[in-house]
């Protein structure tokens, strides 16, 4: 019986400290030291939140760089992340990939003559883990760059420069893989001359 009483008191004390004091102190620290990150790395344009640097938001049409496919509902839902969970031999995976391949060929071929399925990098046709992967591979960005240059009447070199500015390299040049932040890149495009039409 004494054990039960000890346990109940311990549970109250531990919950009080690790459940409230610890996260409160860490939040206070974060709000002072890393304000922007702590609030979700939000990006504001003219004072309005247009998205987060850490979440894909989905772009359509020829004027923007497109993100990777998303399995969330609706797509790019940063309030309900999910994997697609389709197994490596699942016929539905084959259907989804084929549909995505066809869509990319249709969109990009006019600007990339001779583009075949072999020219499409794998991240362009696969769902991401989170459904809101903010990055595309540099290879997929390069594939889309000719379309963007043509549609926006920009020199290809300008588009390539913007891509490299929105590319996050490996952390410390070493950890992880390089990725191109699509929201960053599209916002930069809109700021460039010949941007918003």
């Amino acid at each position: 019986m004494r054990r039960v009483v000890s346990s109940i008191i311990a549970i109250v004390l531990i919950t009080g400290f690790f459940g409230f004091v610890y996260p409160l102190v860490m939040t206070g620290f974060a709000q002072v030291a890393f304000k922007s990150q702590a609030d979700g790395s939000l990006i504001k344009v003219n004072g309005k939140i247009v998205g987060s640097r850490l979440a894909a938001q989905g772009f359509t049409g020829p004027r923007y760089f497109h993100e990777r496919p998303s399995a969330t509902s609706p797509a790019y839902n940063a309030g309900a992340t999910t994997f697609a969970n389709l197994g490596p031999t699942n016929p539905q995976l084959a259907k989804n990939v084929q549909a995505q391949v066809a869509a990319i060929l249709k969109l990009e071929r006019p600007y990339n003559p001779g583009l075949t399925v072999h020219g499409i990098p794998v991240d362009a046709v696969t769902t991401s883990g989170s459904g809101i992967d903010p990055d595309i591979s540099p290879a997929y960005a390069a594939l889309q760059s000719r379309r963007i240059a043509a549609v926006r009447h920009l020199p290809l070199a300008t588009v390539q420069k913007l891509i490299s500015e929105s590319t996050t390299g490996r952390s410390w040049g070493f950890f992880g893989e390089p990725g191109v932040n699509v929201l960053d890149l599209n916002l930069a495009l809109d700021r460039t001359a010949g941007g918003t039409a």
Partner: protein, 571 residues
């Protein structure tokens, strides 16, 4: 496979050893007899510690035998199950719920409560759209600390059973619990939280943000007190995500560096415990031998998973898209993986999280290739002893060590000894229960699930892959891992069957381990002689890996042929 990717993994191993070794020395001091926090600088910490014992009304100097220790563990843990269940049920009416989460249904609440008190963190829910901030931080994250501390406490008690040369007690649970929480987990969690915030993990009490996107859509962006929870979720080998997609979500794991830090956090304490053990029993070479055995299996996992994933899945290869690594992509099977991690960092994580009983993922397991996905499946089944869960990993390994020593003793025809203590019928019985109960239970529960309509309702993918999903679900819950072939769905049946798997999977080995410690502590130490089987050389490493492969490894093999092996042969 890229040289760069392999270098990342090698650097990971080196940094892991460099950090876990000193942490192990520190932990050995924390759990040494007598006061830890004392002296001019740390006396105040000792005063707080004594205040805790006074508040709960226990005498820290009073030692417990194994039965008393085990009873206290249960009496302390079970009310937490009720509390966590209750918080979820009534969260809608409580504070810190800015996004107005509803009460969690009964079957899901019970499964989740069992999941978190057992250090499993299996998730039949998506945190960012199911749990209030109160539930996340004062319910789930508290268990991330507590279940880890209980694991460490039990390990330390068992180690005392091996180390001590007289008496029949294993220490005081409350002292071990407090010191794990305050001197080991808390400082590490503070440091890792701060690093994660710096890299971009949110930490706020504000509700979700609403963005008006560039093309005019509305986007909900979930956030919350994330960093403080993610730090302890990794350090405590818990693994339960704040978000549904766990550490694949950029808000939990924003960069290549945050990924590296979190991967280190996953194996840090389990690896340190091996060195702690070596110090506490005065057998550092033996500890290195155990570390080597663990490391061999870890490396083997990466060596299978990474090439399989880089080769790509059947569907992706057939589609004709470019899977080749280089020219601006990491290539391979990118299904349910994130660009910023690529193939190598996802493979490294998958192996680390399934060797430890962590279970957090930075990419989806369901979408892995048959050979790639078989690696975590088998890792779990080995009983989470390759570094393993915080505490539970090493005491799980003790069961295999006892069996290895026993087999070696039979081969040379002498009474087997481990660190000078004779291994006899009783010890073997406890070790056999500890090592074999969970794998047996996993196979039985998976068989029940796959052969009943109620169980089949959870299966998401067709064919052999659906079988693997089922096997993985009970493998993961039974071994308290928590990672998933996440297509496997929630039903009343799967929630309750999983609850049974998690509770038995936690407490049967835990009690068997304490019983083993209780049996060993009463044994006299025999002097080392020429005939003593050495437990600190390469022979022992080979024997230990062999015993693991021959027991759990052979038990899972028939099931592997029905799942990943069949699927691997399909085109």
């Amino acid at each position: 496979m890229s040289g760069q990717g392999i270098t990342q993994i090698v650097v990971y191993a080196v940094v892991l050893i460099a950090l876990s070794y000193p942490l192990g020395i520190y932990m050995a001091r924390v759990f040494a007899d007598g006061r830890f926090a004392a002296g001019r600088w740390f006396g105040w910490l000792g005063s707080i510690e004594n205040g805790f014992y006074r508040a709960i009304g226990v005498d820290p100097k009073k030692e417990q035998d194994w039965k008393s220790y085990a009873t206290t563990v249960l009496v302390f843990t079970i009310p937490f199950l009720a509390l966590l269940y209750a918080i979820q049920r009534v969260q809608a009416h409580l504070f810190l719920n800015p996004d107005h989460m509803k009460g969690v249904p009964a079957h899901l609440s019970l499964n989740t409560a069992a999941s978190f008190i057992t250090n499993t963190n299996w998730q039949y829910y998506g945190g960012e759209y199911t749990m209030s901030y109160l539930t996340q931080m004062a319910g789930l994250a508290v268990q991330n600390f507590v279940s880890a501390a209980v694991g460490i406490a039990v390990l330390v008690a068992i180690v005392r059973g091996i180390a001590r040369r007289s008496g029949g007690t294993l220490g005081n649970f409350w002292v071990d619990l407090y010191r794990s929480l305050v001197y080991v987990l808390l400082p590490l969690a503070v440091v890792v939280s701060a690093l994660l915030m710096w890299q971009g993990v949110p930490q706020t009490f504000a509700g979700h943000a609403t963005a008006h996107t560039v093309q005019g859509a509305t986007q909900t962006i979930a956030r919350g007190p994330v960093a403080s929870q993610i730090a302890i979720k990794q350090l405590g080998t818990n693994g339960g995500g704040f978000y549904n997609s766990n550490s694949a979500v950029p808000f939990e794991n924003p960069t290549g560096l945050s990924n590296f830090i979190e991967m280190l956090a996953i194996l840090l304490i389990p690896a340190a415990e091996v060195f702690m053990f070596g110090r506490m029993v005065f057998a550092r070479r033996h500890a290195w031998a155990i570390f080597a055995a663990m490391f061999v299996v870890f490396a083997l996992g990466v060596a299978i998973n990474l090439p399989a994933e880089q080769h790509g899945s059947q569907v992706l290869r057939a589609s004709g898209v470019n899977l080749t690594q280089g020219h601006g992509q990491s290539g391979g099977n990118m299904s349910d993986k994130e660009v910023r991690f690529g193939l190598a960092a996802t493979a490294n994580w998958a192996v680390a999280t399934s060797d430890a009983s962590n279970g957090s993922v930075n990419g989806g397991f369901d979408a892995m290739t048959p050979a790639g996905g078989a690696v975590p499946l088998v890792n779990l089944f080995l009983g989470e002893v390759i570094f393993g869960g915080v505490g539970s990993g090493l005491y799980g390994m003790f069961f295999y060590i006892v069996m290895a020593v026993f087999i070696a003793g039979l081969m040379v025809g002498r009474t087997p000894e481990w660190l000078g203590k004779k291994i006899e019928a009783r010890e073997i019985k406890y070790a056999a229960i500890g090592a074999l109960f969970v794998p047996t239970m996993v196979l039985v529960l998976a068989a029940i699930s796959i052969s009943t309509k109620l169980g089949l309702a959870s299966v998401f993918n067709p064919g052999a892959h659906g079988f693997t999903e089922t096997l993985y679900a009970y493998d993961s819950q039974g071994n308290n891992n928590g990672s998933a072939f996440a297509g496997f769905g929630l039903t009343n049946f799967s929630a309750y069957l999983g609850t049974i798997a998690m509770l038995l999977g936690r407490f049967v080995p835990l009690i068997a381990g304490l019983a083993l410690g209780g049996a060993l502590v009463k044994k006299k130490v025999a002097p080392v002689s020429a005939g003593t089987f050495r437990t600190d050389g390469p022979t022992f490493v080979v024997l230990l890996v062999g015993v693991i492969a021959l027991t759990a490894g052979l038990m899972i093999f028939p099931a592997l042929t029905l799942g990943p092996i069949v699927e691997g042969l399909m085109h």
